[in-house]
């Protein structure tokens, strides 16, 4: 009697099953979560996955997704950027005042706003790396400075309005036969997503961002200018906040609360995407997926008829859960 040879009949399916399992495990889990939430939404509201509503959903996601794609640089580099929400608000309010409904102002206004966002990021970066203020404090301070300045400048009620050619980025799109309107916001999101993904995953700078966050001492001793890399990450986050502000301004109009809460949503999205606070891990793709997931969970909560005020609580639970899951995975594999 031989017991040594395993029956070949069962071996093959096992192997293919395990291959499928491995493939599944190679996918960042956030994509699976996103798929599951979308299936749930579609189950409650089958029209959600039709092209037009789905594109509208993506357009709604775009500001947060762009913010998350910028925030992920800062988080991988080992810092936080809490100032982005206030920066979004500032962009909307300042743009409305300077644009004043005149389409002729848009061409210089957008570069000006981008420069302002870069400047905010630069200040965040320099205060964090040169003055050695923990970024949590530095960007919290920036948040307060920006919202105070906006309030002072606008007197609490934003004046002016956005020109139509400014609003089109968040509001309109290109007509595509059969699909309906493809929003500019989605196109911008895709372009920025691809651009930042290339920057983070396929350039020397991107590699240095991971190194600076993963082990700043080792990175410094290998010639990485950790302070410069971190500062650049803040600038990227500032720029992405400007883009998010432009999209949001076009989409929702001018209010003094436009960006409130976005800093936490952006960090939540990045954490959902598996980035580790403290640095060294994360990716643009997963951060985008995290943003889409967060937004789709909000959509699902709406569908289920839960109060809007529940959003914050759910968001808090999601952040804690995602961070605990990431820590658990790290512990298991490390």
């Amino acid at each position: 009697m031989t017991v040594t040879a395993p029956p070949p009949a069962t071996a093959a399916p096992e192997r293919s099953a395990s291959r499928a399992w491995r493939l599944l495990r190679a996918v960042p889990p956030i994509w699976l979560v996103l798929a599951a939430v979308i299936v749930l939404i579609a189950w409650r509201n089958p029209t959600f996955v039709e092209p037009a509503p789905f594109l509208a959903f993506l357009r709604r996601c775009a500001p947060l997704a762009v913010l998350a794609a910028g925030q992920v640089f800062v988080i991988i580099a080992g810092e936080f950027d809490l100032s982005v929400g206030a920066l979004v608000t500032a962009v909307v309010v300042v743009a409305a005042r300077l644009s004043d409904g005149d389409a002729g102002n848009t061409w210089w206004l957008i570069p000006l706003l981008l420069a302002g966002g870069a400047l905010v990021g630069l200040v965040n970066g320099l205060v964090t790396t040169r003055l050695r203020v923990p970024s949590f404090i530095a960007t919290l301070g920036m948040l307060l400075v920006l919202s105070g300045a906006v309030f002072l400048w606008s007197g609490g009620a934003p004046r002016g309005s956005l020109a139509d050619n400014f609003r089109q980025f968040g509001r309109f799109g290109v007509e595509i036969p059969g699909l309906g309107q493809l929003p500019y916001a989605v196109l911008i999101l895709v372009a920025i997503g691809v651009g930042l993904w290339l920057l983070l995953s396929h350039t020397r700078f991107g590699h240095q961002v991971y190194a600076a966050g993963g082990n700043p001492r080792a990175a410094g001793l290998s010639g990485v200018d950790v302070r410069r890399v971190r500062t650049a990450a803040f600038v990227i986050s500032g720029l992405s906040a400007v883009v998010a502000g432009v999209l949001l301004g076009g989409f929702t109009g001018v209010t003094a609360e436009a960006g409130v809460g976005y800093e936490f949503q952006a960090i939540a999205a990045v954490v959902l995407g598996g980035a580790v606070l403290g640095g060294g891990r994360g990716s643009v793709g997963a951060a985008l997926a995290g943003a889409l997931t967060l937004q789709s969970v909000f959509t699902l909560l709406n569908l289920l008829g839960l109060a809007k005020s529940l959003r914050d609580a759910v968001q808090g639970l999601i952040i804690i859960g995602a961070a605990a899951y990431a820590a658990h995975r790290l512990r298991r594999s490390g």
Binding site: R204, H207, Q208, Y210, A211, G214, N215, R217, A218, A219, G220, L221, S222, G223, V224, D225, G280, R281, G334
Partner: protein, 513 residues
Amino acid sequence: MADGIEPQDKILLGMYGIDKSFLGVPVLQDVQLECRPGEIHAVMGENGAGKSTLMKILVGVYQPDAGRIELDGAPVRFHHPRQALAAGVSIVHQELNLLPERTVAENIFLGREPRRRVGVDRTAMERDASRLLAALHADDVISPRALVGRLPVAQQQLVEIAKALSFRPRVLVLDEPTAALSPHEVDALFDRIRRLRADGLTVLYISHRLKEIFDLTDRITVLKDGRRVDTVRTAEVDTRRLVHLMVGRDLDHYYPPRATPERIGEVRLSVRGAGAGMLHDIDLDLRSGEIVGLAGLAGSGRTELARLLFGATRMATGRLEVDGRARRLRSPRQAIRCGIGLLTEDRKSEGLVLQLSVRDNSLLAVRALGRGPTRRVGLGALLDRVDLRGSTAREVRYLSGGNQQKVVLARWLATGARVLIFDEPTRGIDVGAKASIHELMRELAEAGAAILMISSELPEVIGMADRIVVLRQGTVAGVLPADASEAEIMLLATGEPDRSGVGVGAVADGGAA
């Protein structure tokens, strides 16, 4: 005082058959230690001999894998330092564990503050702290209300000892308490320790400084490679005998042949009168084709010198030349641009980004410099040169110590570094990988690199180096030729004038046996 009643050979503290491994690497094997009441007992050995581990087992920081501990003849088992403290075993660790922003009294009674009905009784706390400091004859120099961070290190040390004494110990362990002290401060500390002995306290004194051991202790237990070599009465041994006990071991490892004189080329890196922090007046030349061994005790400034040559600390005095050109290195970045590479002592905290891949870690420095010609460095060819196989996508934390070291080495080959500083290149690496790292180092030297190798393992220094530079207290104590003995190096490193009256050559015979 109980001296009169108790027999001289009564054992107060006994440790028997102590074994301890970390991650399968044995650190202590069958170690025995016996202390009598009221003696100062030295535990000595080279770096890595297991002294600190043994003490951590004694005070309950680590659990032994095997063996037993007896206090006053009764078996004890400490699962937590608190239990050891309660049983009368206190330790002052090598690193100070004080809160700099709290006062002396607050530090001494941290977590055990005397209480009134509500809150802490500051008056009682400061009075008790004064009393403890008085036992050390330090109450006139240290106020219980002083902030610890404002005190000089020597006085902080006394605060630590006062804290240890506050637990009313019967055994006090001092783990290298003099590492940061000046000779004058050491003398003052020794006076105080002798007074404690006179009060009946048993002191376990950990050190590898020969002079201190002879000045202070009654008996000596020598550890080597995790085993007890012998326990001797201090009065009955001389320097030569003690050095022999510490280092007298067999070379159990093959080293590649040394450089022939014609292989050794021009000076690549040279410093004159270099100083910064604890380092001063350092002259050093590193030549193409040559491996210079840098030896010295822990705390002699070896790693500090490596960081200085690499621009990680700035040179305060002196000048530095790379390939004949004067340079001021203000950052590692500039050092790397000059063709210098540093393999840090602690690979995990300073060498590697553990969660990044072999590829990303190997190319880290090249990418950071971002210069043209290095762009097309073939990763495959690099890893072939350091003999590292396997997927380049693996995260380096899953690699063995030897392979991790190869990744760091590949990083410097990628930048084309011609001056390589290896700080403890084979620490924590198994024997086979050790040999291949050694061969790689020799190959690099033969290809024209200038190599500085820091090592605490004297056989490694002797086996690898073409020239041996010995550091002591922040400066070069002497330079020895390739075939120097362990004893010669130890004598230079400890700065011990030969007590036995025998010349250095004779000591060398003893040490190399």
